[in-house]
C-alpha cells in the first residue's frame, strides 16, 4: 500500500494557452467534465497556467486544503512538467502528487475537428486524474556534476566555447580529429558581410587555446567511446592517433617536408594545391607541428614475402634520389640485383595501379638501382656475437638466413655441395635471365660482411649433420629441391631425354651443348620455359613446349611465356606424353602423346586434365627435356638425426618457427615447401634467422609473428580519375640477338626509370623512406609511434563537430569533375586567399583570367533529391565571392538563384552593395552546365542554361568559370557520433536540439550540448553565439555543482519476488543483483536509470518503477478508455 497524503482531493487546471488550446478545445465543457471525475474537488481554467498567476491558482488551492493532488492539462510535460511540480511543492505538497495532460501538442495542434479535440482532451484529463490518485511522494536524488568539460571539434564553435569555459577557470579538453584546430573557418579568406580577413580574427583565438592553462588540446584525436561514469557524469575514451612526430619536441621548422618525396593533394587547399606526406595543414596551424600521413603498409610491400619497401624506393627513384633508394632497398633485401631480375614479383601482381591500367614494373626499378650502383656494399653488423651457425645449402634461403643472422652479430657458415654458391640461382636459372657475374657479386658482398661459404662441401659426405649440430650453435637446412621428377612413361631413360634442371645445370656449369634440331620441353612451369629458351640458345631449330592443360593454367610467369614465344618457342596445349620412342642407338626419335581435355577442378583448384582415349599422335624430335618438378635430395644428407619428413619427401617443420623435430635444427626453402620461387625461399631464410636468434636468446619463438609472411592490405585506394598510362616496357636486346646467353633485358635508363616510378599511386601515402628523420634536428620523428588511448572523466560535453560540404559530383548536370573550370565555392575561396594555392589570384586551370563567371546557388540544397533544407550561408558567401571575383578579375559575374536569402544584421545592405556593383542576378535554377556550343561565341566556353524566370525566357550564358555554391551537410559520420553521445539527429541528419526555440544548444541527453553547424547550417556569427550559449549552459551546471535526477527508478517488492532472476540479465546497466540470503532480486538505485524494462518482464509483479507503476499505467489506460 503506497504511502498517501490522505484521501485524494484532486485539482484539475485547464490551460487555454492563449488561443493555442482554447481555439480547438471547448474549455468550459472540459472543465465541467473534469468536475464529474472521481476525487476531483476543484476544476478551473486559466489563460496561461504556466504564468505566475496561473501557478498561484494551484498553490492557493493546495495551501487552503481544497486540493492535495494536481492535474494540469496544458502543453507537453517535456515543456512544463518541472514548472508545475515546483508549483505543487510550493503549495506544500510533494511535487510528485502531480500529473500533466498534454492537450496542446497532442490535441489542439494536431486535431482538425473541434468536437473530437474536446473529446480527446477529456480522455487525457480523465486518465491523468485516475493516475494521479495513485501517485506517491518521491524524493529527487542529487548527483554531483564533475567540473571537467569535453569539447569535441576544434572549429570556431569549439574554440569559442573552450575559451569561454577556460576563462571561467574550468578545465576543458578540446578534441579535434585533424592535426590542427581552426576547422572550416581557417580555410576562408574573407568573412561576409564585413569582408574582414578570416585568419586575422581566427588565428589569435587559436593561439590562445594552445596557450591557455585550463585547456588540454588533443588534436589528431578522436573520441572512441562515451560511457556513464556514474548516474550523471561520463567516462570518455579518446584515441590519440599516432602522428609519428613527437608533438612536444617538434619545432615546426619544416625541414622534414622539404625533403619528403611524397606529394599528395592538400586537403586544406581543397585539392588545388599539394602538400607532402609529412605536413602541417597551414603555416598558422595549432599546434604548430608536423604529422605524417600513413595509410598503412602499401599492397606491394604487404604482398612481398620479405616485405621489401617497394613504395619507398619507387618514390625516391621518381625524385631522382637514387642513392637513397638503394639504402631503402638494402634495408630489407641482401640480394636485390638478383630479385630485380628474376623475382616473380608478388608486389607487381598486387600493385593498385594494376586495377587502373597496368601495374608498375617494380623489380625492374629495383634492378635499375642495383645496376646504377654496381659496387654497392651491404650494411655491416653493428654488434658481434660469438655463436657460429651452420647453414646447409647456399641457395636464396641459405644466403638470406646467413645475412639476417650476420646482421644480428652471429657467424654463419654455409656448406655447399656444388662447386659454386647460389644453389638453384646458379645452376637452375639461365644466364640470359640472370648473368653469372650478378650472382657472384651478390655472394661476394655477403662474404665481405663476414659470411663464410664452403663450396664443394657436401653435408653427409664431407661432414655429417651430427657433427654440425655438435660444432655449431644451431643448424639451418636449406638444401633446396634438386632431384628431378620422372614422367614415368616408357623410354624415359633413352639418350636424348634430359631432366630440365639437369639440363640447365649442365649448360650453366659446362656451357651450351648440341641437342639436335627439334626439341620438346614437357611441363608448363618457369623452369620449363627457361629450359625451352635455353634449348633455343643451344642451337635447336624448333623448340616446342608440351603442356597437358591450357595457357590459362600454365604456372609460369605470363611475361616469360610471352618472351619465349617471341623468341620462337612453340606451344602445344592439352597434350600429355604417353611413350618416348627411339632406341639406345638413335636415342630419342619421337614422342607419342595423348590429347587431353579439361575436367572438373582438382585439389590445386585448376581444372584436371583428362585424357581422350584413342587420341594418340606422334611428334618427332631429337631431344626431350622433362621439366615437371623437383623434390629435395634428402638422401644425400646421409644419416638425418631422425629428422621427420613428409610423404612428399620434404622436411616436416613447425609452420611458424621452421624448427624441425630436433631442437636447434631448422629447415626451410624448397626442401620444406617443394619447388617454389626465390622470394619465398628468402622468406624462409629470414624466418629461420628470427627463430634461431630467439632460440639462442631463449625467447618465445612463436610470439607476434603473424605478419611475417605475405598478407593483403586492409584498405582500398580510390583510383577514380587517375589518368591512364601504361607500364613503360624495359628495353631489351633485339630478337635476332636472343640466340646467345647475353642478358635479354638491358634495364631502364634513368629517364625511363623516373617515368615508370612516377606512375606509383602512393598507396601508403608516407613511403617510409625515412628521409625526414635524417634531417630532423629535434629528433622528433618516430616511426614506431602507436595510437594511444586516453581516458578522462567529465561532467559536460559540447559537440561542435561542424559540417561537410555537399559533394558536387552528385549532380552530374553541373559538370563538376568533368569540366575542369567548374569549381566549388570553397575551392574559389582558397584561390582568393593570398596564402592559397594560386597566391590570391583567381585563375582558370590553364592559368587564364576568367572574363565571365557564373555562380550557381542552392547546389544540393532546397532539393528533395539531395537535401531539402536551405543551407543558409550560400547566398551570402556567393555574394562575397561575386564581389571578390569581380574585384580581382574584373569579370562579369552572374548569380543564378532561386530566392535570395539574406536575413541578418547588415546582410541586406551587403546584397544592396553587390547589386550596385553591377553583379548580375538571374532568378532561375540552372538546368545544365555544358560545353555544347550552339553559336560561335559559345565555342570553348562553359554554357549555363537556365530559365530567367523573371523575364520569362530561357537563357544560355557562356562563361569561363562556374562556381558551385554547394550546401552544408552533416558530417559523414554524424550518425555514428550521435549514437556515441546518446543524442538524436533531426530530419536533415544534423544533431537534434532539445527544443528548436527554447533549448537550442541542449540535447535530450543530460549534460551533452551542441553548438555550431553540427546542429544545422549556420554562419560564423550564429555559430559563435551558440558556442557562447553552450558555454553558459555548461558553466551554470558546473557552478551549481549537482543535478537532480528524476526519481523514476525501479524497486523490488521483496514479499512478492519469487527469486526467478528473469530481470537480472535484462538490465543494461547491471543494476540488479541477486540477494541470495533473502532469495530475492535487489536493485541498486545508484545504477538504475529508470527504463522499466525489468518491471515489464517481472512475472510476479514484484518489480515496479516509481512514477510508472503497473497500477498507475493501468489507471491511465482505463482512464483514456473509460470516458468519452
Amino acid at each position: 500500500m503506497p504511502e498517501t497524503n490522505g484521501a485524494p482531493k484532486i485539482g484539475v487546471y485547464v490551460c487555454h494557452c492563449g488561443v493555442n488550446i482554447a481555439a480547438k478545445v471547448n474549455i468550459p465543457e472540459v472543465v465541467e467534465f473534469a468536475r464529474t471525475l472521481p476525487f476531483v474537488t476543484v476544476a478551473r481554467d486559466y489563460k496561461f497556467m504556466c504564468s505566475d498567476p496561473g501557478q498561484e491558482l494551484i498553490q492557493q488551492d493546495l495551501r487552503e486544503g481544497r486540493v492535495n493532488r494536481v492535474v494540469v492539462a496544458s502543453c507537453s510535460p517535456l515543456m512544463h512538467e518541472a514548472t508545475f511540480r515546483r508549483a505543487t511543492a510550493e503549495g506544500g505538497q510533494n511535487p510528485f502528487f502531480f500529473h500533466m495532460a498534454n492537450i496542446r501538442e497532442h490535441v489542439s495542434w494536431v486535431t482538425a475537428d473541434e468536437h473530437k479535440a474536446t473529446e480527446k482532451a477529456k480522455a487525457l484529463i480523465a486518465a491523468a486524474v485516475r493516475r494521479v490518485a495513485f501517485h506517491e511522494p518521491l524524493e529527487k536524488k542529487r548527483v554531483p556534476v564533475h567540473p571537467h568539460v569535453l569539447i569535441v571539434g576544434g572549429g570556431i564553435a569549439g574554440i569559442e566555447a573552450a575559451l569561454k569555459i577556460a576563462e571561467a577557470g574550468k578545465k576543458v579538453y578540446l578534441v579535434e580529429r585533424e592535426p590542427t584546430i581552426g576547422g572550416h573557418m581557417a580555410q576562408f579568406d574573407k568573412c561576409f558581410p564585413t569582408l574582414d580577413c578570416a585568419a586575422c580574427i581566427l588565428t589569435p583565438k587559436m593561439t590562445q587555446v594552445r596557450a591557455h592553462p585550463n585547456i588540454k588540446l588533443l588534436t589528431y584525436s578522436e573520441v572512441e567511446s562515451v560511457e556513464p561514469y556514474d548516474l550523471r557524469n561520463f567516462k570518455v575514451t579518446i584515441r590519440r592517433k599516432a602522428r609519428y612526430v613527437n608533438e612536444d619536441v617538434c619545432t615546426g621548422c619544416g625541414l622534414c617536408a622539404d625533403v619528403c618525396p611524397v606529394t599528395v593533394p592538400s586537403e586544406f587547399d581543397e585539392g588545388l594545391g599539394t602538400r607532402k606526406a609529412i605536413y602541417r595543414p597551414f603555416p598558422q596551424a595549432v599546434p604548430n607541428v608536423f604529422t605524417i600521413s600513413r595509410r598503412g603498409t602499401p599492397p606491394c610491400q604487404a604482398a612481398c614475402s620479405i616485405h621489401q619497401n617497394a613504395q619507398g624506393y619507387i618514390t625516391l627513384i621518381a625524385h631522382g634520389k637514387f642513392k637513397e633508394a638503394l639504402d631503402v632497398i638494402l634495408r630489407d633485401n641482401p640480394l636485390p640485383s638478383i630479385c630485380g631480375r628474376i623475382c616473380t614479383h608478388p608486389c607487381t601482381v598486387n600493385c593498385t595501379r594494376g586495377t587502373v591500367d597496368e601495374p608498375l614494373n617494380i623489380p625492374g626499378l629495383k634492378r635499375f638501382i642495383t645496376d646504377l650502383f654496381p659496387d654497392y656494399k651491404l650494411p655491416t653488423p653493428t654488434k658481434e656475437r660469438p655463436e657460429k651457425i651452420a647453414i646447409v645449402g647456399s641457395g636464396p634461403a641459405g644466403l638470406m638466413c646467413a645475412y639476417e643472422l650476420r646482421q644480428r652479430g652471429y657467424k654463419p657458415v654455409i656448406f655447399e655441395a656444388q662447386p659454386v654458391a647460389g644453389g638453384m640461382l646458379s645452376v637452375g636459372i639461365p644466364s640470359f635471365r640472370l648473368p653469372r657475374d650478378v650472382i657472384t657479386k651478390e655472394i661476394n658482398r655477403l662474404k665481405e660482411i663476414g659470411i663464410e661459404i664452403k663450396t664443394n662441401t657436401p653435408v653427409g659426405k664431407a661432414i655429417t649433420l651430427e657433427q654440425l649440430r655438435q660444432q655449431y650453435a644451431a643448424v639451418f637446412i636449406a638444401i633446396g629441391a634438386h632431384v628431378e621428377r620422372k614422367l614415368k612413361v616408357p623410354g624415359e631413360d633413352l639418350p636424348g631425354v634430359f631432366g630440365g634442371i639437369e639440363f640447365l645445370r649442365r649448360v650453366n656449369l659446362e656451357g651450351p651443348f648440341n641437342l639436335g634440331e627439334r626439341v620438346l620441353v614437357i611441363g608448363g612451369g618457369n623452369s620449363a620455359v627457361d629450359a625451352a629458351r635455353t634449348a633455343l640458345r643451344c642451337g635447336a631449330k624448333e623448340v616446342t613446349m608440351v603442356y597437358r592443360r591450357t595457357r590459362a593454367e600454365m604456372p609460369a610467369d605470363p611475361k616469360e611465356i610471352e618472351a619465349a614465344e617471341e623468341e620462337g618457342v612453340k606451344m602445344l596445349f592439352l597434350a600429355a606424353p604417353k611413350t618416348i620412342l627411339g632406341n639406345k642407338e638413335t636415342g630419342v626419335t619421337a614422342l607419342e602423346c595423348l590429347k587431353m581435355k579439361l575436367g572438373a577442378p582438382d585439389a590445386s583448384g585448376r581444372p584436371a586434365p583428362e585424357p581422350i582415349p584413342g587420341s594418340e599422335f606422334v611428334l618427332s624430335c631429337d631431344a626431350i627435356i622433362v621439366t615437371i618438378g623437383q623434390v629435395p635430395d634428402i638422401a644425400s644428407l646421409g644419416e638425418r638425426l631422425g629428422l621427420e619428413t613428409t610423404t612428399w619427401g620434404t622436411f616436416k617443420v613447425d609452420d611458424v618457427t621452421l624448427e624441425t623435430n630436433v631442437p636447434g635444427v631448422f629447415a626451410g626453402g624448397d626442401c620444406v615447401t617443394g619447388p617454389d620461387v626465390v622470394v619465398n625461399a628468402m622468406y624462409a631464410g629470414k624466418k629461420a634467422a628470427i627463430s634461431i636468434d630467439r632460440y639462442l636468446n631463449k625467447l618465445d619463438m612463436r610470439a607476434g609473428r603473424e605478419r611475417e609472411g605475405p598478407y593483403r592490405t586492409e584498405y582500398t585506394i580510390d583510383t577514380s580519375g587517375t589518368p591512364l598510362q601504361k607500364q613503360i616496357p624495359m628495353p631489351a636486346i633485339e630478337l635476332a640477338r636472343r640466340r646467345t646467353f647475353e642478358e635479354v633485358h638491358t634495364g631502364y635508363t634513368k629517364e625511363l626509370a623516373i617515368a615508370e616510378a612516377k606512375r606509383c599511386l602512393d598507396c601508403g601515402i608516407c613511403c617510409d623512406c625515412r628521409l625526414c628523420a635524417t634531417v630532423c634536428e629535434a629528433k622528433a620523428i618516430n616511426y614506431e609511434m602507436k595510437d594511444e588511448i586516453q581516458e578522462i572523466v567529465v561532467g559536460s560535453i559540447i559537440l561542435a563537430t561542424g559540417f561537410k560540404l555537399f559533394d558536387a559530383r552528385r549532380i552530374p548536370r553541373y559538370g563538376y569533375g568533368k569540366y575542369p573550370n567548374v569549381y566549388t565555392a570553397l575551392e574559389v575561396e582558397r584561390m582568393t586567399n593570398s596564402a592559397g594555392p594560386t597566391g590570391g589570384e583567381i585563375r582558370l586551370r590553364d592559368g587564364r583570367k576568367p572574363k565571365a563567371v557564373g555562380i550557381i546557388h542552392c547546389v544540393g540544397s532546397r532539393d528533395r533529391n539531395y537535401n531539402s533544407y536551405c543551407s543558409r550561408v550560400c547566398c551570402l558567401y556567393s555574394l562575397k565571392l561575386a564581389h571578390l571575383i569581380k574585384e580581382r578579375t574584373g569579370a562579369e559575374v552572374y548569380n543564378f538563384y532561386i530566392d535570395m536569402r539574406v536575413p541578418g544584421k547588415a546582410y541586406e545592405e551587403f546584397y544592396d552593395r553587390m547589386l550596385e556593383e553591377g553583379i548580375h542576378f538571374i532568378r532561375g535554377r540552372v538546368a545544365e552546365v555544358t560545353d555544347h556550343a550552339m553559336t560561335p561565341d559559345e565555342e570553348g566556353k562553359l554554357v549555363i542554361r537556365a530559365e530567367d524566370t523573371l523575364i520569362g525566357v530561357i537563357r544560355r550564358i557562356p562563361v569561363d568559370m562556374v562556381v558551385l555554391a554547394v550546401g552544408l551537410e552533416p558530417q559523414a559520420d554524424a550518425d555514428e557520433v550521435r549514437r556515441k553521445f546518446y543524442i538524436s539527429c533531426g530530419s536533415g541528419g544534423f544533431f537534434l536540439e532539445r527544443h528548436p526555440k527554447l533549448a537550442p544548444v541542449q540535447t535530450f541527453a543530460d549534460g551533452i550540448f551542441i553548438a555550431g553547424a553540427c546542429q544545422g547550417p549556420k554562419d560564423i556569427q550564429d555559430t559563435v553565439a551558440q558556442a557562447g550559449a553552450a558555454a553558459a549552459e555548461v558553466l551554470s551546471l558546473i557552478d551549481r555543482g549537482f543535478v537532480e535526477l528524476e526519481p523514476n527508478t525501479a524497486f523490488i517488492q521483496e514479499e512478492l519476488c519469487s527469486g526467478c532472476k528473469t530481470c537480472i540479465p535484462l538490465c543494461p546497466f547491471s543494476a540488479i543483483s541477486f540477494n541470495s540470503d533473502k532469495g530475492v532480486a535487489a536493485i541498486n538505485e545508484a545504477l538504475c536509470k529508470g527504463c522499466g524494462t525489468c518491471v515489464a518482464a517481472c512475472p510476479s509483479g514484484a518489480a515496479q518503477q516509481h512514477l510508472f507503476t503497473d497500477e498507475q499505467i493501468y489507471q491511465e489506460i482505463e482512464g483514456v478508455l473509460s470516458y468519452v
Partner: protein, 214 residues
C-alpha cells in the same frame, strides 16, 4: 503578333477556376504540384522549352492559380515529348511529364485541344487502332494521320516512304493480336470502372469527321 490593345490589363479572380488545381492534383502523385518553388529547372531543362508559349514552370504556376483556360489552350502541353528530363531534375520531385499528360487528357476531355495540331490526332488515331487490333501498324497510322490532317503532306514524304518500302521497313500489312476479344474486355472494364465518357465523345467526334476539318 497580337495587338497590344487586346492584352488584358487584369486577370480578374472571378475569371479563374480555383477548383482546377485541386482537380489536377488528384492524379497519382499530383499533390507534389503544390510543392513547386518556381525555380525554372524544368523550363531550362526542357529541349522544347524554347518552342513553348508558356514554359513548363509557368504552366505549373498558372495551374496552381486556376488559369484553366490558358493552360488547356496552351501549345506547351502538346509540345511535351515525354522525355522526362524535367521530372528527374525537379528539385521538388514533381512528375512534370505525367502532369503534362494529365493536362493533355483534360484538354481532350474539354474538347479544347488545338484542332490543327496533329499531336492530338495522332494520339487518337493510335488509340483507335490499338483499341481495335491490340497492336499498331506504323505505316497505316502515318497514312491515316496525313489523310486526316493534311493529305498534301504525303507527297512531301513520298521519297522517304519509297526508301522505307524498299528496305522492308514500311509494311502495309496490319498487325493484330490473336485474342482481340480479350483486349476488348480489358479496355471495356477500364471504361466501366472509370465511368468517364470522354472516350466515347472522342469516338463520336472521330466518327463525325470533325478532326478531319483542319
Amino acid at each position: 503578333m497580337k495587338e497590344w490593345q487586346s492584352w488584358p490589363r487584369f486577370r480578374y479572380e472571378a475569371e479563374l477556376d480555383l477548383r482546377f488545381p485541386e482537380e489536377v492534383a488528384s492524379m497519382p502523385g499530383g499533390r507534389a504540384l503544390f510543392a513547386c518553388i518556381q525555380c525554372g529547372t524544368c523550363s531550362g531543362t526542357c529541349p522544347l522549352g524554347t518552342y513553348m508559349d508558356y514554359s513548363p514552370r509557368k504552366i505549373i504556376a498558372m495551374t496552381r492559380a486556376g488559369f484553366k483556360d490558358e493552360v488547356l489552350h496552351s501549345f506547351t502541353i502538346w509540345l511535351c515529348a515525354s522525355c522526362y528530363a524535367c521530372a528527374v531534375e525537379c528539385p521538388r520531385k514533381i512528375k512534370i511529364t505525367d502532369f503534362m499528360a494529365e493536362l493533355k487528357q483534360r484538354a481532350i476531355q474539354e474538347g479544347v485541344y488545338p484542332k490543327r495540331f496533329p499531336v492530338a490526332v495522332l494520339a487518337r488515331e493510335f488509340f483507335d487502332t490499338v483499341r481495335k487490333r491490340g497492336r499498331s501498324t506504323e505505316s497505316r497510322l502515318v497514312l491515316r494521320l496525313y489523310a486526316k490532317t493534311n493529305p498534301l503532306k504525303i507527297f512531301n514524304q513520298a521519297l522517304l516512304g519509297l526508301k522505307l518500302l524498299r528496305t522492308g521497313r514500311f509494311s502495309l500489312r496490319a498487325e493484330s493480336v490473336k485474342n482481340r476479344q480479350q483486349i476488348d474486355q480489358l479496355l471495356r472494364a477500364v471504361d466501366a470502372v472509370k465511368a468517364t465518357t470522354f472516350v466515347d465523345r472522342l469516338a463520336r467526334e472521330v466518327h463525325r469527321g470533325e478532326v478531319a476539318r483542319v
